[in-house]
């Protein structure tokens, strides 16, 4: 393995995509290959590269919110069916992530944060990533339909198309509001988890969907504020690039203000109890406090470490984990009473 890693890291067999050719699926060698590797065909992709295509770190959040939706839903489902639902949510998310990286290989190559992914680093052929993404997506939807229910399968299919087509292909390169609509893709897991138990869509899972939908813009834009140079370099119209920092900070604040009452609605309508209600109030209050700090701030003329923005991004991840954990704790507590 050390051998392969060393060879791969050195770029001896790398066939990096040339910028501008990616969307058409073209491949080109950007640099002469080192001897003696130059004479050989590139190595096949390692299974770890396929695993990396599924964006495992993003998948943990998807699995967590899906599991929380499933555990918080009223009713009971067989543990095997519950496991199948979560597995299909994870595999579906992995398939969508692979399709996202297939389409954005040339963009990823231009950004420091993503340049080492399997496709831009030249460790995998582009068609393999596409086939892998399509295969995972179909397997997840079919298994969900056969094992859980077809409403879940339909929502999962919509979420994959939403992320891979609506967000990745259509919106992301076209509008600075891409994240707002694209955030919906990440909001599906708790909805699917809930429907896996109940078999139908009600107001509560829609509220959980709305919670993640409203959380995504401040979460992502706080990240985009301190990595905006990368997005600008590859021509992605992220809000800070197109509308500027002050407008982005204003938008972060607006969405954070809206998030506070929205997070409390499940409590107000009686869909969740006091554990969730108080947790949501404290968590969303702190979220808003950090957003106010980011929203009213102006970047220092030089050597700005962007600490408030980085803190807000880190907290936003923690926020989602804790608020969904509180929802589950609330349901477990209600069951004990």
């Amino acid at each position: 393995m050390a051998l392969a890693g060393g060879m791969r890291a050195s770029g001896a067999y790398a066939l990096p995509l040339q910028r501008g050719e990616g969307a058409q699926g073209g491949w080109a060698m950007s640099a002469p290959l080192h001897a003696p590797a130059a004479a050989a065909a590139p190595l096949p992709a390692d299974w770890r590269d396929f695993f990396a295509l599924t964006k495992p770190r993003v998948m943990t959040l998807v699995i967590f919110t899906g599991l929380c939706g499933l555990l918080a839903a009223p009713g009971h489902v067989h543990p095997v069916i519950a496991f199948t639902a979560i597995l299909c949510i994870a595999v579906g998310a992995g398939g969508a992530a692979a399709l996202n990286q297939w389409w954005e290989a040339d963009i990823d190559a231009g950004m420091k944060r993503t340049a080492k992914r399997p496709l831009p680093a030249g460790r995998m052929h582009r068609d393999s990533a596409r086939d892998f993404g399509v295969g995972l997506s179909f397997a997840a939807v079919i298994t969900m339909g056969l094992g859980v229910n077809w409403l879940c399968a339909a929502i999962l299919a919509v979420s994959i198309v939403y992320y891979a087509v609506l967000y990745t292909i259509w919106l992301k390169p076209r509008t600075p509001q891409n994240i707002v609509i694209g955030g919906g893709a990440g909001a599906f897991p708790p909805l699917i988890g809930w429907v896996a138990v109940t078999g139908h869509v009600t107001l509560m899972p829609v509220l959980l969907f709305a919670l993640i939908f409203m959380w995504t813009p401040p979460h992502f834009w706080s990240l985009a504020l301190f990595v905006q140079t990368d997005y600008a370099k590859v021509g992605i119209p992220m809000l800070p690039v197109v509308a500027g920092e002050p407008a982005t900070r204003r938008q972060i604040l607006i969405y954070s203000i809206l998030l506070l009452p929205l997070s409390l609605v499940p409590w107000w309508i009686g869909g969740a109890g006091a554990i969730y209600g108080w947790s949501a109030a404290v968590l969303s209050g702190l979220f808003l406090a950090l957003a106010v700090r980011v929203g009213l701030r102006r970047r220092a003329p030089e050597d700005d470490s962007m600490k408030p923005e980085k803190q807000m991004f880190a907290y936003s991840v923690l926020y989602l984990f804790v608020i969904f954990a509180a929802l589950v704790a609330d349901r477990i507590w209600a069951g004990w009473k």
């Binding site: 190595l43 390692d46 069916i81």
Partner: protein, 46 residues
Amino acid sequence: MSDGPEPVDIAAERRRIIAARNKVLALVLLGFVVLFFAITIAKMQH
């Protein structure tokens, strides 16, 4: 003595990668079979 990259047996490396991929694929397929068996039992109980 040379400071250049060490010569590498490409064919052996290719075989190693493909063998590892095949093992992972076999495990995934086995997991799939076990999963559908478990789903069938769970649905029958339900």
